[in-house]
């Protein structure tokens, strides 16, 4: 089992519903977020292109945060989801410094927090809150080992990319382009 997410940049309008749904679902404290929206404009008026991406932890297969954690509180859980054990975490910030995607923050209660693919929902057979809420239906989630999962199907059908592949982190957040 290998969980992954694919996001269709052709459909995403950058509304940030994924952000607010995550904050509410996971009780993320005010002023912090586990996912965010990037708008990348290229060209000059009127020859322009805009790519909108909903970004979050890439749930890397070769995660620098897991490698560099001095207490072993960052770990791979079921389906390759990278988690932080808040009881073991000392909030040193080594993982934050090592993450090329800037996906982690220090929770006011002193531990490091980040996207968990809503593992508490996934374990119950539900989709992550961001995927479930997205009004443009541009996010796909599932098991890469299952060829019939919606994420496997989309990655077969469509051209896609990952972010900063040169970092060699084996990211599992895909963008359909």
């Amino acid at each position: 089992m290998r969980y992954a997410m694919a996001i269709d940049t052709r459909k995403c309008v950058g509304c940030s519903d994924c952000v607010v749904a995550c904050q509410i679902e996971n009780k993320v404290p005010e002023g912090f977020c586990r996912d965010w929206v990037v708008e990348a404009t290229s060209g000059t008026y009127p020859k322009l292109e805009l790519e909108i991406r909903s970004e979050r932890c890439n749930q890397c297969g070769n995660a620098p945060c897991v490698r560099c954690c001095p207490t072993g509180s960052s770990f791979y859980a079921d389906g390759g989801i990278v988690l932080v054990d808040p009881d073991k975490c000392i909030g040193c910030g080594a993982c934050i410094a090592s993450c090329p995607y800037d996906a982690r923050y220090v929770h006011p209660e002193g531990f490091v927090d980040k996207c968990t693919f809503c593992i508490q929902r996934v374990r119950k057979g539900q989709r992550p809150a961001c995927v479930e809420v997205c009004p443009t239906n541009c996010m796909y989630f599932g098991d890469l080992d299952d060829p019939n999962s919606e994420v496997s199907i989309k990655l077969k059908e469509r051209k896609h990319k990952t972010l900063i592949p040169e970092a060699g982190t084996d990211p599992h957040l895909y963008f359909l382009i």
Binding site: C15, I24, K27, P86, H107, F111, P135, T136
Partner: protein
């Protein structure tokens, strides 16, 4: 404002009502949700609602825990408004409930030691005060002198109260400040309204044309979802916008038009489609009136003519016209929603309607469907007294085609003048922050000074509450019942809103406020039900459901009864116009003395060093009403001024730099706004998201963040056909130094 009888009172001086519990109820910390972290003891309950953060009114489920604390709101899967997916505002709607700045108890304006202050009052005291004033106004001027401004579900009950009192002056800014021109244009062409949700069949379209309409940033949920489906289906999107909007970035063709010239492009498209013979001949022949007149009229409007005006190349105009014709009849030239731009808006929307008509998209799959809603009977009540006059009497012979009450008209009719009696003496304002909603802020404030009664009913201390004689705290939609949502769609649907929890503080639902006030004034017979449950159950049973059933279902789909979703080929149709046909040539406009066919008119342009002020929406905010919502504020705390890099270079502006704006009349923005340098905007205009720049300090998050476009809209181009207030003829320049402080007017 000195010596005025109605000084602005900052509600901030009052910390009254129930204990303010800040923030959300955190029962478990975020990072801890990794191993079934939600305690098993939690008993979650789900109650149905429909959203009140915007007017799309998506149905959803509210999840509360055993303490009655609200956790989240999620979309209702069976509801066609949202298909189980709320937009960011709907998801963040919980913030309305938890906002600690909410109004907490009724307030009455009193004079204490020569100073005007708000005193906390009981509901009984507030009702007595209002009833006395309303009776006095009725005696002195007649009940028709009272008006209701409303932009929310509770308006149904307050409107019912006003009619019982004897006035029909019920108005929403959504007509004269927003969608009025498109409704009047489509009514005069097809004999029917566009309605809300719009009857656009975007789901099945092959070509969607957006003219200044920024779907995606304008987050009307169902439409955005369908646009996304259309992208999946490979539909061609054509976006006409001087700004590279989100929708423009999804488009096959983006036409970066010169602002204020859209009508020239529309006329050129009609010209091409007729002269090339690309129109739907059979449809036009069977259903349309005035084709020959139209053909002769648009002869003059060639793409070459339009090029010089719009800066869109003739080849592009022909190519996009062909794209539409190829897709026809599955093509939508979208009527837009906020369309009060330049004062000739009804005529521009007429051109949109005509273009749809000649392509045969009205009543066709992928074009415009025939929506249906059911007739929900009203709970029996005595007949309303017949008003002897209305706001309209203040404007004899004007705005005959305004089929709704003009908010700006009521406002104007509240100011005494030599030409007319001051017809309106009392306002009840519900869920609309008129100070940020109506253009001509000075006129709004002058009208307020001349009122004998101003009652404001809101959940938040919006600016308008500071001018009220009485402020009534309405509870949020998550804490109340409301009228059944009965909106037109592909099939008729009903949705129920019921309280997920008890109202916080001393706030109350509008149905209760209206009923209690009516009883106080001896009008209780108009609210003959014991409580709202009884009324809703009575209504629902009349249409084969019940309150009990709706509490379980939330949403109920009913059967279509009248016609089909689309016209059937060759079907005989009588349109609700003078000629019984789709009027390309409008006999109604002609009879009213207006151009029966749309003509291009030139609009004012900015002078040197000035830029056209364009404004729009952000997906996470609804006007100014969400700017203090803790969840949504966090997503976008302030607006930025979009400036083209060429302009920024000229003015030596930097990203994030704060500037003040001065408009063509010398009006300076009260707050500075930060610069966002972006290629996504033309060099002749600037852009900001509407709804920021709050001066009210009691809005602790929103206060002082960003600038207000409304404050800078002092030039309004009135649409003579229906009284729409064109607001896009204002020009601003940059002040990089903090200006001398203006006299405080707001």
């Amino acid at each position: 404002m000195r010596n005025s009888r109605r000084n602005f009172i900052k509600i901030s001086s009052l910390g009254i009502g129930g204990a303010a519990v800040a923030g959300t109820a955190v029962h478990w910390a975020s990072g801890k949700i990794i191993n079934e972290a939600i305690p098993k003891s939690f008993q979650f309950k789900q109650t149905p609602t429909y959203c009140e953060v915007c007017f799309w009114k998506c149905a959803g489920w509210v999840t509360t825990d055993e303490n009655g604390e609200i956790w989240k709101v999620e979309g209702h899967k069976a509801d066609p408004h949202c298909n189980g997916r709320l937009c960011p505002r709907g998801t963040g709607g919980v913030g309305m409930y938890y906002d600690e700045d909410r109004l907490k108890t009724p307030l009455i304006r009193r004079i204490k030691n020569g100073k005007q202050v708000y005193e906390p009052a009981s509901w009984e005291e507030a009702f007595t005060y209002i009833a006395n004033k309303l009776n006095l106004i009725k005696e002195k001027y007649g009940p028709e002198s009272v008006a209701l401004f409303t932009h929310g579900s509770g308006g149904k009950f307050l409107g019912h109260f006003l009619k019982a009192y004897g006035s029909n002056n019920i108005t929403a800014p959504s007509f004269a400040q927003c969608r009025g021109p498109r409704e009047v244009a489509f009514l005069s062409t097809f004999g029917e309204l566009v309605l809300s949700p719009e009857r656009t069949d975007i789901r099945d379209t092959k070509c969607l044309v957006l003219i200044g309409s920024h779907l995606g940033e304008n987050m009307h949920n169902g439409q955005v979802q369908e646009m996304s489906q259309a992208i999946d289906n490979g539909a061609a999107i054509i976006t006409v916008d001087p700004r590279f909007s989100t929708a423009a970035s999804k488009s096959k063709h983006w036409l970066p038009i010169k602002p204020a010239t859209d009508l020239a492009l529309l006329l050129a498209w009609i010209h091409v489609i007729i002269s090339e013979g690309w129109y739907d001949e059979e449809y036009v022949e069977k259903y349309c009136f005035g084709f020959e007149e139209l053909k002769a009229h648009v002869q003059q409007y060639s793409p070459e003519w339009a090029y010089g005006i719009t800066t869109i190349e003739p080849q592009t105009i022909r190519e996009t016209a062909k794209e539409m014709a190829n897709a026809a009849p599955a093509v939508i030239i979208h009527p837009g929603r906020h369309v009060t731009w330049y004062g000739d808006d009804t005529q521009r929307l007429r051109a949109v309607a005509i273009l749809n008509a000649i392509l045969g998209s009205w009543g066709r799959r992928g074009g415009f469907y025939n929506p249906e809603k059911i007739a929900l009977p009203e709970f029996p009540h005595p007949p309303f007294p017949k008003p002897r006059k209305t706001w309209k009497d203040a404007f004899p012979e004007q705005y005959n085609m305004a089929y709704e009450v003009l908010s700006t008209g009521v406002c104007e009719a509240s100011i005494p003048s030599a030409e007319r009696d001051s017809a309106i003496k009392g306002w009840i304002v519900n869920g609309t922050n008129l100070v940020h909603t109506l253009p001509y802020q000075q006129q709004t404030l002058e009208a307020i000074q001349n009122l004998e009664l101003l009652v404001v009913i809101d959940t938040m201390p919006m600016e308008i509450t500071g001018y009220a004689d009485v402020v009534l705290p309405e509870c949020t939609y998550l804490e109340r019942y409301d009228a059944i949502r009965n909106s037109p769609h592909r099939e008729p649907y009903l949705a129920l809103r019921m309280p997920a929890t008890q109202p916080k503080y001393n706030s109350k639902p509008d149905w209760w406020i209206a009923k209690k006030l009516a009883e106080k004034m001896g009008l209780g017979a108009y609210f003959g039900w014991k409580n709202i449950e009884e009324m809703l159950d009575w209504q629902l049973k009349k249409v084969g459901s019940s309150l009990k059933e709706m509490q379980k279902l939330g949403v109920k789909k009913l059967k279509r009864e009248f016609d089909d979703l689309y016209f059937i080929r060759g079907q005989e149709i009588e349109f609700n116009t003078n000629t019984g046909k789709i009027e390309l040539f409008s006999t109604e406009l002609q009879a009213e003395g207006f151009d029966p066919l749309p003509k291009y008119t030139l609009h004012p342009e900015p002078e040197e060093e000035f830029y056209r002020l364009n404004y729009g929406r952000a997906p996470m905010h609804t006007f100014s009403r969400t700017s203090n919502n803790p969840n949504l504020h966090a997503l976008m705390p302030e607006n930025y001024l979009w400036v083209n890099p060429k302009v920024a270079r000229l003015w030596k502006l930097k990203n994030g730099q704060e500037v003040w704006l001065k408009n063509q009349a010398g009006k300076v923005s009260y707050f500075p706004i930060k610069i966002r340098i972006t290629e996504r905007i033309r060099w002749d205009s600037v852009y900001m998201v509407h709804g920021f720049g709050h001066k009210e300090q009691r809005l602790s998050r929103a206060n002082g963040k960003g600038a207000s476009d409304t404050q800078l809209i002092t030039n309004v181009m009135m649409d003579p056909i229906m009284g729409g207030t064109g607001m896009r003829g204002n020009f601003v320049t940059f002040l990089t130094e903090k200006p001398e402080k203006e006299e405080e007017t707001l």
